[in-house]
Symmetry: D2
Subunit: 305 residues, 4 copies
């Protein structure tokens, strides 16, 4: 029986110094930041966490620090072990089990793309069967993997082939597919919405949890949004979703994913830079960014240190 | 001041005989079918209506018949005059005005694609200014036009450049963009949702009207969905949206847009075939399709003759 | 038996005034420019000729002027009648026959895309069979039509279904597909290469003719290239191809297809602007462009008035 | 001063047993197969070699076996160390240097895509500067990496930023870009053509070397093609290129890259299967494939054991 995760799961940034070394010591502090803001879990080594830009050893050590930090807390830690080599994924999955991760997650291989749902499921099953006691999430993010297979088709294959499949982190805009997955076999799977800017449109379909990068620094906004929705105050929910959009639009203006670390700097939790090939924000750009953020007038919607 | 259209706007199929001749005489009957099922309007000569596959004269004559049919009814008729030649668009727009269309709609040119929002707006303004008294909708459907410019950027340019812009028929899954357009200048524009399979996710954002092909044959389903949403019965709204999805999934199974005419045949309103290059359903395939539709068990959700 | 066209076929620009009216009177002069530079033919109303941006009447009148101009010359005139409505294509094809065009050409429909080679051939056959005595070319340009069906697969279907198919204007970089078409049924079809910047790579595969926009203003360059190739002087042929590339790179720098008309202005044959949504070059940009062209040092490779 | 590689560089398959374990012992035999067929070099751990599907350790051990096997031969060994983590690339690059690889190669990162040529060059420079004495090739294969940056733009940035850049393995159909790279700074870089099916079109532009998967099993075909070209016998060169195409078309028919290992089996050098997510050929499909290969009638164009 799958335990579904409710509420916000943050996808933490990798904390680095200016040379790109990981500052593992900041992970317990990061954990406390999330806990303080009532975040339900952390999806580590994902896109936001730069898992693919780290070495296998760095990914493992990052997971170890998160495991330790969350030992006494309620935060669920999901570790992305996905990659293009199933052998390395298995090594990472087994390590995740040993150190007490709550779940692992897999990506579609992003160099050789699976030809269809069956091939994708075979790849995932190969890893999942190496850790049969671990809940496994599939992380669907076609814009980065280049693999745009319907998750409804995936579930039809995976339902028998991957007994320990727990659900999907769904980072794509196909709501028809998403809703079909929510309703698949009477809601068997934990469907975590992965587009923060559209959370409201997922809630109305029945989603109860989300995984996102902006939950790192704006958890209050989304909890207020969820509350407003639950209370039937749609006007407020829409207003908050629009504020989320205005906040996210700055990511586009300032060059993409690295802007997230600028938001972290803004709330006072420095995470350093992204590794290449991601482009980082210059100090000059940061000054301008800071003014734009102040202009959003959403100070009390950001996470508190 | 823009009059917003609430409720369902059907995009009628072109009624043809087996040789691909248009059966104009069926248009009044089609109008009555929509009226009987409480449809608010008709978006004619669009994708569903095969506007691009008709000649300019056929498009005009189609519009004339719809104008006549709707003369005594409450149905709003929006005529898609968009194409790749602004000169032909203008000719068609003026004719629309003469015969009393309620509004016209424009497409992004789909051979030479506009380089940015400004170029798209210039093209649309060229046509719109020829009929300054007519409300003009932009029909955003990147999957067919290949022009995927943000509509929020479009509105920022169009707000001053196209005084008679009424709104957008939004047939794309970018809810962040869609919501930003709903909220643009205090809700100035009429934002009509164009993906029937996601209507619920648009309603929660504030959409009040939709344009779609499945409203031709399943209007009751969507009106019940809207009612359930308005009454706060989300469980029912989700169930109905899932039924809409199951219905629409058959379009994929049976080869796409032409399946819509099979649904029309199913409810008893024969529309003939689609013109080339659209592929039509064989009679054998129709037999199988019919069984699938019966299996959906949604008999009382289809439109009534 | 198909007559193959050797040498350069120019795709003429539409000659317009500043208001976008077509200056038909310039067509005889245009014809003479091509003839003087030994161009073998003209592919009119194509992408370069803005066929899709003109009205049906303008396309027809353009064809009439070209027919008249070429009556006494050796230039072959191919008229693009392709569009999204086969009924309008047929009307245009019949008119082409009446006024004495040497051949017509068809595009893949670019709104509803054919699902496969069979559907594409059915569409083309519908038009071709209306003018059974006319040679028909298929104009393959996936970057604009969005229809990227293998031409080898097209020929396998079309060989029996379209008896009057003459060949293909191949504007795509798939040399494997192109060479397979050259060798199809012992070289049955006239394969005209449509990427001026790669002409040399097509010549080595056996191509003997090309259709392009830069032949309007730089025919001498390409004739020297072909001569060098035929004489086995590959060093010279490569040098000339590189000069063609340097010339074509300015199209990218100055915003695309409209730059072609700037080259025409440069050689002294004013063609006006492109119609919307194509972006035109400002006068300031033209000044800079002119300097860039002078920097190419290829004065004697341009066409002569 | 860059040493350019002439002739054919094979991209060897990874030799595996049915469980997906690498059979390192077959590498010396593989080396001898290539040597016997006069292949100039081996591009190991590439797409054909499944580098991305192996573990870092397996890649390293594969490289060690190739280094040893080639110690006494003239074969140049280029090791693809590219990936998404520059830290792992550097580790692999240093190991390559230690064991005596002739060169390394890098890929564009294929999860986070570089935004422009500058970002791509920065990523590559980060790795290249860790092994300043090693020649570095960039492996351009947009169809798999999703990074389609012009190589001409890349060279303009890399020329100063990466002093040990040796050249590009160019696996893309943009001949305009390829020729511009050949001619860049008077032919400074070693431009290796990577599309076997278009080799002739690259030779005419001045290419003298190629890297490909079909050189593993059909080296004689391509050497005869190059000879024919060098001798001015274009008819023969075209015929051989067409035979190459007919051979390569079977890859499409039988499901892609794994068909290459079927060709290896056909010539008598068993390489096992591809790892997931690549789909392998069933034994039944192989029987049919074998008949198709015999039908090609090119027995003496395959490599000899």
């Amino acid at each position: 029986m799958i335990t579904k995760i409710e509420g916000l799961i943050a996808a933490p940034f990798s904390t680095q110094d200016k040379q790109g070394n990981i500052l593992y010591d900041r992970i317990p502090l990061y954990h406390d930041l999330l806990e303080k803001n009532e975040v339900s879990g952390a999806f580590i080594n994902g896109s936001t966490g730069e898992g693919v830009s780290l070495t296998q050893k760095e990914r493992m050590k990052t997971a170890e620090y998160w495991a330790l930090a969350a030992k006494q807390s309620k935060l669920k830690i999901i570790n992305l072990v996905g990659g293009t080599s199933y052998a390395e994924c298995i090594e990472n999955a087994r390590h995740s089990e040993e150190i007490g991760m709550d779940a692992i997650a897999l990506l579609a291989p992003y160099y050789f793309k699976p030809a269809n749902a069956k091939a994708l499921v075979e790849f995932c099953a190969k890893v999942a069967e190496a850790v049969p006691q671990m809940p496994v999430y599939f992380y669907h993010i076609p814009v980065l993997t280049g693999c745009n297979i319907s998750m409804y088709d995936f579930l039809k294959e995976a339902s028998t082939a991957i007994p320990n499949l727990a659900g999907i982190k769904y980072t794509h805009e196909d709501f028809m597919d998403f809703q079909s997955c929510i309703n698949f076999e009477n809601g068997k799977y934990d469907m975590l919405w992965g587009r923060d800017e559209n959370l409201l449109s997922a809630l109305i379909l029945g989603a109860r949890g989300g995984v996102g990068s902006t939950f790192n620094y704006a958890a209050p906004l989304y909890y207020q949004l969820i509350d407003a929705f639950d209370n039937g105050d749609f006007e407020m929910a829409r207003k908050l979703q629009q504020q989320s959009i205005d906040m996210i639009r700055l990511l586009g203006k300032y060059g993409g994913i690295a802007t997230g670390k600028a938001y972290m700097r803004y709330i006072g939790f420095e995470c350093g830079e992204f590794r290449l090939p991601v482009k980082n924000m210059s100090n000059e750009a940061y000054q301008e960014f800071e003014k734009d953020v102040q202009g959003l007038q959403m100070q009390d919607l950001f996470s508190k240190l």
